[in-house]
Symmetry: C2
Subunit: 303 residues, 2 copies
Amino acid sequence: MTNLHTEKQTGEKTTKTPEKQTGRTATIIGIGLIGGSLALDLKDSGFCSHITGVEANPEHAAEAKKLGLVDEILPLKDAVKKSELVIIAVPVDATIPVLKAVLDETENQIITDVGSTKEKIAKSVKGHPRRGRFVPSHPIWGTEFSGPSAAVRGGFSGNVTVICDKNECDPDSLAGIEAMYDAIGMKKIYMDSVSHDVHAAYVSHISHATSFSLALSVLEKEKEVDTIFQLAGAGFESTVRLAKSNPETWVPIFMENRENLLDVLEEQIERLLEMKECLRHNDTKRLKSLMKKANEIKKVLKK
Amino acid sequence: MTNLHTEKQTGEKTTKTPEKQTGRTATIIGIGLIGGSLALDLKDSGFCSHITGVEANPEHAAEAKKLGLVDEILPLKDAVKKSELVIIAVPVDATIPVLKAVLDETENQIITDVGSTKEKIAKSVKGHPRRGRFVPSHPIWGTEFSGPSAAVRGGFSGNVTVICDKNECDPDSLAGIEAMYDAIGMKKIYMDSVSHDVHAAYVSHISHATSFSLALSVLEKEKEVDTIFQLAGAGFESTVRLAKSNPETWVPIFMENRENLLDVLEEQIERLLEMKECLRHNDTKRLKSLMKKANEIKKVLKK
Protein backbone atom coordinates (compact mmCIF):
# COMPACT_ATOMS: atom_id res chain seq x y z
CA MET A 1 0.00 0.00 0.00
CA THR A 2 1.55 3.29 -0.98
CA ASN A 3 0.32 6.72 -0.13
CA LEU A 4 -1.34 8.83 -2.75
CA HIS A 5 1.07 11.67 -2.22
CA THR A 6 4.31 9.75 -2.29
CA GLU A 7 4.10 7.97 -5.60
CA LYS A 8 3.17 9.27 -9.03
CA GLN A 9 0.89 7.46 -11.43
CA THR A 10 2.90 6.04 -14.27
CA GLY A 11 0.17 4.95 -16.58
CA GLU A 12 2.57 2.42 -18.06
CA LYS A 13 0.16 -0.46 -17.51
CA THR A 14 -2.59 0.92 -19.75
CA THR A 15 -2.21 -1.77 -22.37
CA LYS A 16 -2.21 -4.75 -19.98
CA THR A 17 -5.95 -5.39 -19.66
CA PRO A 18 -6.61 -8.58 -21.62
CA GLU A 19 -10.37 -8.18 -22.02
CA LYS A 20 -10.23 -4.87 -23.82
CA GLN A 21 -7.54 -2.99 -25.68
CA THR A 22 -8.32 0.40 -24.20
CA GLY A 23 -9.42 1.12 -20.65
CA ARG A 24 -13.05 1.52 -19.77
CA THR A 25 -14.86 4.73 -18.95
CA ALA A 26 -16.10 4.64 -15.38
CA THR A 27 -18.17 6.65 -12.96
CA ILE A 28 -17.43 6.43 -9.27
CA ILE A 29 -20.17 7.80 -7.03
CA GLY A 30 -18.68 8.89 -3.71
CA ILE A 31 -14.97 9.71 -3.81
CA GLY A 32 -13.89 8.90 -0.26
CA LEU A 33 -11.48 6.32 1.13
CA ILE A 34 -12.89 3.43 -0.94
CA GLY A 35 -14.06 5.31 -4.05
CA GLY A 36 -10.84 7.32 -4.22
CA SER A 37 -8.56 4.31 -3.69
CA LEU A 38 -10.48 2.37 -6.35
CA ALA A 39 -10.10 5.29 -8.76
CA LEU A 40 -6.32 5.20 -8.30
CA ASP A 41 -6.00 1.44 -8.74
CA LEU A 42 -8.36 1.27 -11.72
CA LYS A 43 -6.27 3.88 -13.51
CA ASP A 44 -2.93 2.37 -12.44
CA SER A 45 -4.00 -1.08 -13.62
CA GLY A 46 -5.16 0.30 -16.95
CA PHE A 47 -8.63 -1.12 -16.37
CA CYS A 48 -10.06 2.38 -16.69
CA SER A 49 -8.95 5.17 -18.98
CA HIS A 50 -11.33 7.86 -17.81
CA ILE A 51 -12.98 8.27 -14.42
CA THR A 52 -15.88 10.60 -13.75
CA GLY A 53 -16.61 11.42 -10.14
CA VAL A 54 -20.04 12.06 -8.67
CA GLU A 55 -19.75 13.65 -5.25
CA ALA A 56 -22.45 15.31 -3.13
CA ASN A 57 -19.97 17.10 -0.87
CA PRO A 58 -18.53 20.07 -2.85
CA GLU A 59 -15.34 20.18 -0.75
CA HIS A 60 -14.70 16.48 -1.36
CA ALA A 61 -15.45 17.00 -5.07
CA ALA A 62 -12.86 19.78 -5.30
CA GLU A 63 -10.34 17.76 -3.31
CA ALA A 64 -10.85 14.63 -5.45
CA LYS A 65 -10.22 16.69 -8.57
CA LYS A 66 -7.20 18.44 -7.08
CA LEU A 67 -5.66 15.15 -5.93
CA GLY A 68 -6.12 13.73 -9.44
CA LEU A 69 -8.41 10.94 -8.25
CA VAL A 70 -10.94 11.69 -11.00
CA ASP A 71 -10.77 13.28 -14.43
CA GLU A 72 -13.93 15.31 -13.95
CA ILE A 73 -16.90 15.79 -11.66
CA LEU A 74 -20.39 15.56 -13.17
CA PRO A 75 -23.99 15.22 -11.96
CA LEU A 76 -25.13 11.60 -11.63
CA LYS A 77 -27.25 11.38 -14.80
CA ASP A 78 -24.57 12.86 -17.07
CA ALA A 79 -21.87 10.74 -15.47
CA VAL A 80 -23.78 7.46 -15.87
CA LYS A 81 -24.66 8.24 -19.50
CA LYS A 82 -21.03 8.60 -20.56
CA SER A 83 -19.68 5.56 -18.65
CA GLU A 84 -19.43 1.82 -19.31
CA LEU A 85 -18.92 1.02 -15.63
CA VAL A 86 -20.60 2.57 -12.57
CA ILE A 87 -19.28 2.03 -9.05
CA ILE A 88 -21.37 3.18 -6.08
CA ALA A 89 -19.13 3.97 -3.10
CA VAL A 90 -21.40 6.01 -0.84
CA PRO A 91 -22.40 5.04 2.74
CA VAL A 92 -24.65 1.96 2.73
CA ASP A 93 -27.83 3.85 3.68
CA ALA A 94 -27.36 6.17 0.69
CA THR A 95 -26.62 3.28 -1.64
CA ILE A 96 -30.24 2.19 -2.13
CA PRO A 97 -31.61 5.50 -3.54
CA VAL A 98 -28.41 6.05 -5.55
CA LEU A 99 -28.56 2.53 -6.98
CA LYS A 100 -32.19 3.02 -8.03
CA ALA A 101 -31.32 6.33 -9.68
CA VAL A 102 -28.43 4.67 -11.52
CA LEU A 103 -30.54 1.68 -12.64
CA ASP A 104 -33.18 4.07 -13.98
CA GLU A 105 -30.50 5.75 -16.14
CA THR A 106 -28.81 2.52 -17.18
CA GLU A 107 -28.75 1.34 -20.77
CA ASN A 108 -26.03 -1.25 -20.91
CA GLN A 109 -23.76 -0.13 -18.10
CA ILE A 110 -22.13 -2.53 -15.68
CA ILE A 111 -22.90 -1.52 -12.08
CA THR A 112 -21.51 -2.50 -8.71
CA ASP A 113 -21.48 -1.13 -5.18
CA VAL A 114 -18.76 -1.62 -2.58
CA GLY A 115 -20.83 -1.51 0.59
CA SER A 116 -20.11 -3.46 3.80
CA THR A 117 -23.70 -4.73 3.94
CA LYS A 118 -25.46 -6.48 1.09
CA GLU A 119 -28.86 -7.96 2.00
CA LYS A 120 -31.01 -4.81 2.02
CA ILE A 121 -29.23 -3.33 -0.98
CA ALA A 122 -29.77 -6.47 -3.06
CA LYS A 123 -33.38 -6.76 -1.89
CA SER A 124 -34.11 -3.13 -2.79
CA VAL A 125 -33.70 -3.71 -6.53
CA LYS A 126 -35.32 -7.14 -6.75
CA GLY A 127 -37.68 -7.02 -9.70
CA HIS A 128 -36.18 -3.88 -11.25
CA PRO A 129 -36.16 -4.37 -15.05
CA ARG A 130 -32.42 -3.63 -15.13
CA ARG A 131 -31.56 -5.72 -12.00
CA GLY A 132 -29.18 -7.92 -14.00
CA ARG A 133 -26.83 -5.01 -14.69
CA PHE A 134 -26.04 -4.76 -10.96
CA VAL A 135 -23.40 -6.97 -9.30
CA PRO A 136 -23.44 -6.49 -5.50
CA SER A 137 -19.89 -6.64 -4.17
CA HIS A 138 -17.87 -5.95 -1.05
CA PRO A 139 -14.12 -5.51 -1.40
CA ILE A 140 -12.74 -6.24 2.07
CA TRP A 141 -10.19 -3.58 2.65
CA GLY A 142 -10.20 -0.23 4.36
CA THR A 143 -8.47 1.94 6.91
CA GLU A 144 -9.79 3.97 9.83
CA PHE A 145 -9.41 7.17 7.77
CA SER A 146 -11.96 8.77 5.46
CA GLY A 147 -12.50 11.29 2.67
CA PRO A 148 -10.62 11.77 -0.63
CA SER A 149 -7.33 12.49 1.18
CA ALA A 150 -7.50 9.00 2.73
CA ALA A 151 -7.26 7.37 -0.73
CA VAL A 152 -4.19 5.17 -1.14
CA ARG A 153 -2.72 3.11 -3.96
CA GLY A 154 -2.54 -0.68 -3.88
CA GLY A 155 -4.67 -1.23 -0.76
CA PHE A 156 -7.03 -3.76 -2.35
CA SER A 157 -4.35 -5.99 -3.84
CA GLY A 158 -4.07 -9.40 -2.17
CA ASN A 159 -7.31 -8.95 -0.25
CA VAL A 160 -10.66 -10.64 -0.77
CA THR A 161 -13.75 -9.24 -2.47
CA VAL A 162 -17.15 -10.85 -1.99
CA ILE A 163 -19.49 -11.02 -4.99
CA CYS A 164 -23.10 -11.68 -4.03
CA ASP A 165 -26.11 -13.28 -5.70
CA LYS A 166 -24.22 -13.90 -8.94
CA ASN A 167 -27.10 -15.86 -10.46
CA GLU A 168 -29.18 -12.70 -10.56
CA CYS A 169 -26.55 -10.82 -12.58
CA ASP A 170 -26.33 -10.62 -16.36
CA PRO A 171 -23.34 -12.76 -17.47
CA ASP A 172 -21.53 -9.84 -19.14
CA SER A 173 -22.06 -7.62 -16.13
CA LEU A 174 -20.73 -10.28 -13.75
CA ALA A 175 -17.74 -10.90 -16.03
CA GLY A 176 -17.00 -7.16 -16.14
CA ILE A 177 -16.97 -6.77 -12.36
CA GLU A 178 -14.90 -9.93 -11.97
CA ALA A 179 -12.40 -8.54 -14.45
CA MET A 180 -12.32 -5.26 -12.50
CA TYR A 181 -11.42 -7.01 -9.25
CA ASP A 182 -8.88 -9.20 -11.06
CA ALA A 183 -7.26 -6.04 -12.42
CA ILE A 184 -6.70 -4.58 -8.95
CA GLY A 185 -5.41 -7.88 -7.57
CA MET A 186 -8.33 -9.00 -5.41
CA LYS A 187 -9.30 -12.61 -4.72
CA LYS A 188 -12.98 -13.25 -5.46
CA ILE A 189 -15.31 -15.27 -3.27
CA TYR A 190 -19.02 -15.79 -3.85
CA MET A 191 -21.97 -16.00 -1.50
CA ASP A 192 -25.58 -14.92 -1.29
CA SER A 193 -26.20 -11.47 0.16
CA VAL A 194 -27.99 -12.82 3.26
CA SER A 195 -25.03 -15.03 4.22
CA HIS A 196 -22.65 -12.17 3.52
CA ASP A 197 -24.27 -10.00 6.16
CA VAL A 198 -24.28 -12.75 8.78
CA HIS A 199 -20.55 -13.39 8.31
CA ALA A 200 -19.70 -9.68 8.07
CA ALA A 201 -21.30 -9.12 11.48
CA TYR A 202 -18.96 -11.74 12.98
CA VAL A 203 -15.70 -10.83 11.36
CA SER A 204 -15.96 -7.10 10.83
CA HIS A 205 -18.88 -5.24 12.37
CA ILE A 206 -18.44 -6.66 15.87
CA SER A 207 -14.74 -5.70 15.79
CA HIS A 208 -15.80 -2.12 15.20
CA ALA A 209 -18.48 -2.23 17.92
CA THR A 210 -15.94 -3.64 20.37
CA SER A 211 -13.32 -1.09 19.48
CA PHE A 212 -15.75 1.85 19.75
CA SER A 213 -16.89 0.69 23.18
CA LEU A 214 -13.37 0.04 24.38
CA ALA A 215 -12.43 3.60 23.46
CA LEU A 216 -15.54 4.89 25.24
CA SER A 217 -14.72 2.87 28.38
CA VAL A 218 -11.17 4.09 28.52
CA LEU A 219 -12.11 7.72 27.81
CA GLU A 220 -14.82 7.50 30.47
CA LYS A 221 -12.73 5.92 33.20
CA GLU A 222 -9.32 7.30 32.45
CA LYS A 223 -9.53 11.04 32.78
CA GLU A 224 -5.76 11.40 32.79
CA VAL A 225 -5.40 11.48 29.03
CA ASP A 226 -1.65 12.07 29.22
CA THR A 227 -1.32 8.84 31.17
CA ILE A 228 -3.10 6.85 28.45
CA PHE A 229 -0.82 8.43 25.91
CA GLN A 230 2.28 7.49 27.87
CA LEU A 231 1.23 4.00 28.88
CA ALA A 232 -0.57 2.81 25.79
CA GLY A 233 1.37 -0.02 24.23
CA ALA A 234 0.99 -1.53 20.80
CA GLY A 235 -1.70 -3.90 22.10
CA PHE A 236 -3.94 -1.05 23.17
CA GLU A 237 -3.35 0.78 19.91
CA SER A 238 -4.27 -2.16 17.76
CA THR A 239 -7.40 -2.91 19.79
CA VAL A 240 -8.78 0.65 19.66
CA ARG A 241 -7.58 1.55 16.17
CA LEU A 242 -11.01 0.94 14.64
CA ALA A 243 -12.56 3.42 17.10
CA LYS A 244 -11.12 6.14 14.88
CA SER A 245 -13.49 5.06 12.08
CA ASN A 246 -15.92 7.54 10.55
CA PRO A 247 -19.46 7.53 12.08
CA GLU A 248 -20.88 8.65 8.70
CA THR A 249 -19.80 5.27 7.30
CA TRP A 250 -20.34 3.09 10.36
CA VAL A 251 -23.71 4.21 11.73
CA PRO A 252 -25.39 3.13 8.47
CA ILE A 253 -23.47 -0.19 8.39
CA PHE A 254 -24.53 -0.99 11.97
CA MET A 255 -28.13 -0.02 11.21
CA GLU A 256 -28.36 -1.98 7.95
CA ASN A 257 -26.97 -5.05 9.67
CA ARG A 258 -28.59 -4.53 13.05
CA GLU A 259 -30.25 -7.93 13.45
CA ASN A 260 -27.05 -9.87 12.87
CA LEU A 261 -24.95 -7.41 14.84
CA LEU A 262 -27.36 -7.61 17.79
CA ASP A 263 -26.85 -11.38 17.86
CA VAL A 264 -23.08 -11.10 17.94
CA LEU A 265 -23.14 -8.20 20.43
CA GLU A 266 -25.18 -10.32 22.80
CA GLU A 267 -22.68 -13.13 22.43
CA GLN A 268 -19.80 -10.71 23.09
CA ILE A 269 -21.50 -9.34 26.23
CA GLU A 270 -22.05 -12.91 27.45
CA ARG A 271 -18.36 -13.69 27.00
CA LEU A 272 -17.32 -10.57 28.92
CA LEU A 273 -19.75 -11.46 31.71
CA GLU A 274 -18.23 -14.94 31.82
CA MET A 275 -14.76 -13.42 32.16
CA LYS A 276 -16.08 -11.14 34.90
CA GLU A 277 -17.48 -14.15 36.79
CA CYS A 278 -14.08 -15.85 36.61
CA LEU A 279 -12.43 -12.77 38.12
CA ARG A 280 -15.09 -12.28 40.74
CA HIS A 281 -14.82 -15.88 41.94
CA ASN A 282 -11.08 -16.20 41.54
CA ASP A 283 -11.75 -19.03 39.10
CA THR A 284 -8.32 -19.27 37.48
CA LYS A 285 -9.06 -22.70 36.05
CA ARG A 286 -12.06 -21.50 34.07
CA LEU A 287 -10.30 -18.29 33.03
CA LYS A 288 -7.38 -20.30 31.69
CA SER A 289 -9.69 -22.58 29.76
CA LEU A 290 -11.43 -19.54 28.21
CA MET A 291 -8.10 -18.05 27.16
CA LYS A 292 -6.93 -21.36 25.73
CA LYS A 293 -10.13 -21.61 23.72
CA ALA A 294 -9.65 -18.01 22.51
CA ASN A 295 -6.11 -18.93 21.43
CA GLU A 296 -7.72 -21.13 18.75
CA ILE A 297 -8.27 -17.94 16.76
CA LYS A 298 -4.61 -18.44 15.74
CA LYS A 299 -5.78 -21.08 13.31
CA VAL A 300 -7.94 -18.65 11.36
CA LEU A 301 -5.66 -15.63 11.31
CA LYS A 302 -3.30 -15.15 8.43
CA LYS A 303 -0.37 -14.02 10.58
CA MET B 1 12.41 -4.62 15.93
CA THR B 2 14.54 -7.24 14.31
CA ASN B 3 14.15 -10.93 14.61
CA LEU B 4 16.54 -12.93 16.66
CA HIS B 5 17.40 -15.15 13.78
CA THR B 6 17.91 -12.56 11.08
CA GLU B 7 20.56 -10.33 12.59
CA LYS B 8 23.80 -11.26 14.29
CA GLN B 9 25.01 -9.67 17.50
CA THR B 10 27.86 -7.34 16.73
CA GLY B 11 28.98 -6.52 20.22
CA GLU B 12 30.42 -3.28 18.85
CA LYS B 13 28.62 -1.15 21.42
CA THR B 14 30.29 -2.79 24.42
CA THR B 15 32.29 0.30 25.38
CA LYS B 16 29.44 2.79 25.17
CA THR B 17 27.98 2.44 28.68
CA PRO B 18 29.00 5.63 30.47
CA GLU B 19 28.44 4.43 34.05
CA LYS B 20 30.85 1.56 33.91
CA GLN B 21 33.75 0.65 31.68
CA THR B 22 32.90 -3.03 31.45
CA GLY B 23 29.43 -4.55 31.19
CA ARG B 24 27.68 -5.86 34.26
CA THR B 25 27.06 -9.46 35.19
CA ALA B 26 23.34 -10.17 35.22
CA THR B 27 20.92 -12.92 36.10
CA ILE B 28 17.62 -13.13 34.26
CA ILE B 29 15.05 -15.37 35.91
CA GLY B 30 12.57 -16.60 33.29
CA ILE B 31 13.89 -16.62 29.71
CA GLY B 32 10.71 -16.14 27.71
CA LEU B 33 9.55 -13.35 25.39
CA ILE B 34 10.48 -10.55 27.81
CA GLY B 35 13.44 -12.13 29.61
CA GLY B 36 14.94 -13.37 26.35
CA SER B 37 14.47 -10.07 24.51
CA LEU B 38 16.01 -8.20 27.45
CA ALA B 39 18.97 -10.56 27.41
CA LEU B 40 19.59 -9.77 23.74
CA ASP B 41 19.31 -5.99 24.16
CA LEU B 42 21.40 -5.87 27.33
CA LYS B 43 24.21 -7.68 25.57
CA ASP B 44 23.84 -5.69 22.33
CA SER B 45 23.93 -2.38 24.22
CA GLY B 46 26.99 -3.44 26.17
CA PHE B 47 25.17 -2.90 29.43
CA CYS B 48 25.81 -6.53 30.34
CA SER B 49 28.85 -8.63 29.59
CA HIS B 50 27.63 -11.92 31.04
CA ILE B 51 24.09 -13.18 31.45
CA THR B 52 23.13 -16.14 33.60
CA GLY B 53 19.70 -17.63 33.01
CA VAL B 54 17.49 -19.19 35.65
CA GLU B 55 14.71 -21.20 34.06
CA ALA B 56 12.31 -23.68 35.68
CA ASN B 57 11.28 -25.23 32.35
CA PRO B 58 14.14 -27.51 31.18
CA GLU B 59 13.10 -27.26 27.52
CA HIS B 60 13.08 -23.47 27.67
CA ALA B 61 16.44 -23.54 29.47
CA ALA B 62 18.00 -25.65 26.70
CA GLU B 63 16.41 -23.50 24.01
CA ALA B 64 17.62 -20.24 25.62
CA LYS B 65 21.14 -21.62 25.73
CA LYS B 66 20.97 -22.91 22.16
CA LEU B 67 19.65 -19.58 20.85
CA GLY B 68 22.49 -17.76 22.61
CA LEU B 69 20.15 -15.74 24.80
CA VAL B 70 22.16 -16.58 27.93
CA ASP B 71 25.77 -17.55 28.61
CA GLU B 72 24.84 -20.24 31.11
CA ILE B 73 21.96 -21.68 33.09
CA LEU B 74 22.35 -21.97 36.87
CA PRO B 75 20.13 -22.58 39.90
CA LEU B 76 18.74 -19.37 41.43
CA LYS B 77 21.07 -19.12 44.44
CA ASP B 78 24.26 -19.64 42.43
CA ALA B 79 23.09 -17.25 39.72
CA VAL B 80 22.21 -14.43 42.13
CA LYS B 81 25.53 -14.80 44.00
CA LYS B 82 27.64 -14.23 40.89
CA SER B 83 25.59 -11.31 39.48
CA GLU B 84 25.49 -7.57 40.04
CA LEU B 85 22.03 -7.24 38.50
CA VAL B 86 19.01 -9.57 38.86
CA ILE B 87 15.97 -9.30 36.59
CA ILE B 88 12.85 -11.29 37.43
CA ALA B 89 10.87 -12.05 34.27
CA VAL B 90 8.51 -14.84 35.36
CA PRO B 91 4.67 -14.66 35.31
CA VAL B 92 3.42 -12.16 37.90
CA ASP B 93 2.04 -14.80 40.29
CA ALA B 94 5.44 -16.50 40.43
CA THR B 95 7.23 -13.18 40.92
CA ILE B 96 6.43 -12.82 44.65
CA PRO B 97 8.05 -16.08 45.84
CA VAL B 98 10.96 -15.63 43.40
CA LEU B 99 11.51 -12.04 44.55
CA LYS B 100 11.57 -13.11 48.20
CA ALA B 101 14.06 -15.88 47.41
CA VAL B 102 16.25 -13.39 45.53
CA LEU B 103 16.09 -10.78 48.31
CA ASP B 104 17.08 -13.42 50.85
CA GLU B 105 20.22 -14.17 48.79
CA THR B 106 21.00 -10.54 48.01
CA GLU B 107 24.13 -8.86 49.29
CA ASN B 108 24.50 -5.76 47.20
CA GLN B 109 22.71 -6.79 43.98
CA ILE B 110 20.43 -4.49 42.07
CA ILE B 111 17.06 -6.17 41.49
CA THR B 112 14.09 -5.45 39.27
CA ASP B 113 11.07 -7.29 37.91
CA VAL B 114 9.31 -6.65 34.61
CA GLY B 115 5.77 -7.68 35.55
CA SER B 116 2.58 -6.14 34.15
CA THR B 117 1.15 -5.68 37.66
CA LYS B 118 2.96 -3.92 40.47
CA GLU B 119 0.84 -3.34 43.59
CA LYS B 120 0.88 -6.84 45.11
CA ILE B 121 4.49 -7.45 44.16
CA ALA B 122 5.63 -4.19 45.82
CA LYS B 123 3.47 -4.85 48.86
CA SER B 124 4.84 -8.39 49.27
CA VAL B 125 8.34 -7.17 50.16
CA LYS B 126 7.39 -4.16 52.27
CA GLY B 127 9.49 -4.30 55.41
CA HIS B 128 12.02 -6.79 54.00
CA PRO B 129 15.48 -5.74 55.27
CA ARG B 130 16.76 -5.67 51.65
CA ARG B 131 13.63 -3.94 50.20
CA GLY B 132 15.73 -1.01 48.95
CA ARG B 133 17.65 -3.23 46.51
CA PHE B 134 14.42 -3.89 44.56
CA VAL B 135 13.17 -1.44 41.91
CA PRO B 136 9.69 -2.49 40.67
CA SER B 137 9.42 -1.80 36.94
CA HIS B 138 7.21 -2.52 33.95
CA PRO B 139 8.69 -2.10 30.49
CA ILE B 140 5.67 -1.63 28.22
CA TRP B 141 6.42 -3.76 25.24
CA GLY B 142 5.50 -7.26 24.19
CA THR B 143 4.05 -9.39 21.44
CA GLU B 144 1.38 -12.08 21.45
CA PHE B 145 4.08 -14.75 21.23
CA SER B 146 5.85 -16.49 24.12
CA GLY B 147 8.84 -18.62 25.12
CA PRO B 148 12.56 -18.19 24.32
CA SER B 149 11.95 -18.47 20.58
CA ALA B 150 9.73 -15.36 20.77
CA ALA B 151 12.69 -13.22 21.87
CA VAL B 152 13.49 -10.37 19.47
CA ARG B 153 16.11 -7.64 19.33
CA GLY B 154 15.31 -3.95 19.71
CA GLY B 155 11.66 -4.34 20.80
CA PHE B 156 11.96 -2.15 23.89
CA SER B 157 13.66 0.79 22.20
CA GLY B 158 11.45 3.89 21.92
CA ASN B 159 8.82 2.47 24.28
CA VAL B 160 8.01 3.48 27.84
CA THR B 161 9.01 1.75 31.06
CA VAL B 162 7.27 2.50 34.34
CA ILE B 163 9.39 2.64 37.50
CA CYS B 164 7.32 2.37 40.69
CA ASP B 165 7.72 3.54 44.27
CA LYS B 166 11.15 5.02 43.63
CA ASN B 167 11.35 6.56 47.10
CA GLU B 168 11.50 3.08 48.59
CA CYS B 169 14.53 2.11 46.49
CA ASP B 170 18.18 2.55 47.45
CA PRO B 171 19.61 5.40 45.34
CA ASP B 172 22.31 3.23 43.72
CA SER B 173 19.80 0.50 42.93
CA LEU B 174 17.39 2.99 41.33
CA ALA B 175 20.24 4.57 39.35
CA GLY B 176 21.34 1.13 38.12
CA ILE B 177 17.89 0.18 36.83
CA GLU B 178 17.43 3.63 35.24
CA ALA B 179 20.76 3.17 33.47
CA MET B 180 19.67 -0.27 32.29
CA TYR B 181 16.50 1.09 30.67
CA ASP B 182 18.45 4.03 29.22
CA ALA B 183 20.85 1.54 27.65
CA ILE B 184 18.06 -0.29 25.80
CA GLY B 185 16.44 2.97 24.66
CA MET B 186 13.35 3.10 26.88
CA LYS B 187 11.69 6.29 28.14
CA LYS B 188 11.20 6.24 31.90
CA ILE B 189 8.07 7.36 33.72
CA TYR B 190 7.46 7.16 37.44
CA MET B 191 4.38 6.39 39.48
CA ASP B 192 3.40 4.56 42.63
CA SER B 193 2.58 0.87 42.23
CA VAL B 194 -1.11 1.33 43.13
CA SER B 195 -1.65 3.95 40.38
CA HIS B 196 0.29 1.79 37.94
CA ASP B 197 -2.18 -1.06 38.30
CA VAL B 198 -5.21 1.21 37.90
CA HIS B 199 -3.86 2.66 34.65
CA ALA B 200 -2.61 -0.71 33.37
CA ALA B 201 -6.16 -2.10 33.71
CA TYR B 202 -7.44 0.69 31.43
CA VAL B 203 -4.82 0.73 28.76
CA SER B 204 -3.63 -2.84 28.59
CA HIS B 205 -5.49 -5.49 30.55
CA ILE B 206 -8.96 -4.55 29.26
CA SER B 207 -7.64 -4.69 25.67
CA HIS B 208 -6.64 -8.27 26.31
CA ALA B 209 -9.97 -9.15 27.99
CA THR B 210 -11.85 -7.64 25.04
CA SER B 211 -9.75 -9.41 22.49
CA PHE B 212 -10.07 -12.80 24.23
CA SER B 213 -13.85 -12.44 24.42
CA LEU B 214 -14.12 -11.26 20.83
CA ALA B 215 -12.25 -14.36 19.70
CA LEU B 216 -14.53 -16.52 21.86
CA SER B 217 -17.66 -14.88 20.43
CA VAL B 218 -16.54 -15.35 16.87
CA LEU B 219 -15.40 -18.93 17.42
CA GLU B 220 -18.70 -19.68 19.16
CA LYS B 221 -20.99 -18.14 16.57
CA GLU B 222 -19.03 -18.66 13.41
CA LYS B 223 -18.65 -22.36 12.91
CA GLU B 224 -17.52 -21.92 9.33
CA VAL B 225 -13.88 -21.37 10.17
CA ASP B 226 -12.88 -21.16 6.52
CA THR B 227 -15.29 -18.27 6.09
CA ILE B 228 -13.65 -16.32 8.91
CA PHE B 229 -10.31 -16.96 7.32
CA GLN B 230 -11.48 -15.71 3.95
CA LEU B 231 -13.46 -12.72 5.15
CA ALA B 232 -11.31 -11.47 7.99
CA GLY B 233 -9.90 -8.07 7.09
CA ALA B 234 -7.09 -6.18 8.75
CA GLY B 235 -9.56 -4.66 11.22
CA PHE B 236 -10.58 -8.05 12.56
CA GLU B 237 -6.99 -9.21 12.72
CA SER B 238 -5.83 -6.21 14.72
CA THR B 239 -8.76 -6.46 17.13
CA VAL B 240 -8.29 -10.16 17.92
CA ARG B 241 -4.49 -10.24 17.73
CA LEU B 242 -4.13 -10.15 21.52
CA ALA B 243 -6.36 -13.23 21.84
CA LYS B 244 -3.31 -15.22 20.76
CA SER B 245 -1.57 -14.24 24.03
CA ASN B 246 -0.30 -16.91 26.41
CA PRO B 247 -2.72 -17.88 29.24
CA GLU B 248 0.28 -18.73 31.47
CA THR B 249 1.18 -15.04 31.40
CA TRP B 250 -2.27 -13.51 31.28
CA VAL B 251 -4.28 -15.51 33.83
CA PRO B 252 -1.92 -14.32 36.61
CA ILE B 253 -1.99 -10.70 35.35
CA PHE B 254 -5.81 -10.69 35.34
CA MET B 255 -5.91 -12.26 38.79
CA GLU B 256 -3.33 -9.93 40.35
CA ASN B 257 -5.20 -6.92 38.98
CA ARG B 258 -8.71 -8.30 39.34
CA GLU B 259 -10.25 -5.42 41.30
CA ASN B 260 -9.20 -2.79 38.77
CA LEU B 261 -9.96 -5.02 35.82
CA LEU B 262 -13.44 -5.78 37.18
CA ASP B 263 -14.14 -2.02 37.26
CA VAL B 264 -13.11 -1.53 33.65
CA LEU B 265 -14.85 -4.73 32.50
CA GLU B 266 -18.10 -3.46 34.00
CA GLU B 267 -17.64 -0.17 32.18
CA GLN B 268 -16.95 -2.01 28.92
CA ILE B 269 -20.07 -4.18 29.32
CA GLU B 270 -22.12 -1.02 30.00
CA ARG B 271 -20.84 0.57 26.79
CA LEU B 272 -21.70 -2.53 24.75
CA LEU B 273 -25.18 -2.60 26.29
CA GLU B 274 -25.58 1.07 25.36
CA MET B 275 -24.62 0.27 21.78
CA LYS B 276 -27.08 -2.63 21.81
CA GLU B 277 -29.86 -0.30 22.98
CA CYS B 278 -29.11 2.07 20.10
CA LEU B 279 -29.43 -0.78 17.64
CA ARG B 280 -32.53 -2.21 19.23
CA HIS B 281 -34.32 1.16 19.15
CA ASN B 282 -32.95 2.31 15.81
CA ASP B 283 -31.45 5.27 17.62
CA THR B 284 -29.04 6.47 14.95
CA LYS B 285 -28.59 9.85 16.63
CA ARG B 286 -27.32 8.35 19.87
CA LEU B 287 -25.19 5.77 18.05
CA LYS B 288 -23.55 8.53 16.04
CA SER B 289 -22.85 10.55 19.16
CA LEU B 290 -21.25 7.49 20.82
CA MET B 291 -19.03 6.89 17.80
CA LYS B 292 -18.05 10.56 17.66
CA LYS B 293 -17.11 10.45 21.33
CA ALA B 294 -15.10 7.25 20.71
CA ASN B 295 -13.29 9.05 17.86
CA GLU B 296 -11.67 11.24 20.54
CA ILE B 297 -9.30 8.36 21.19
CA LYS B 298 -7.43 9.76 18.16
CA LYS B 299 -6.01 12.43 20.44
CA VAL B 300 -4.30 9.94 22.68
CA LEU B 301 -3.00 7.51 20.09
CA LYS B 302 0.46 7.99 18.71
CA LYS B 303 -0.50 7.21 15.14
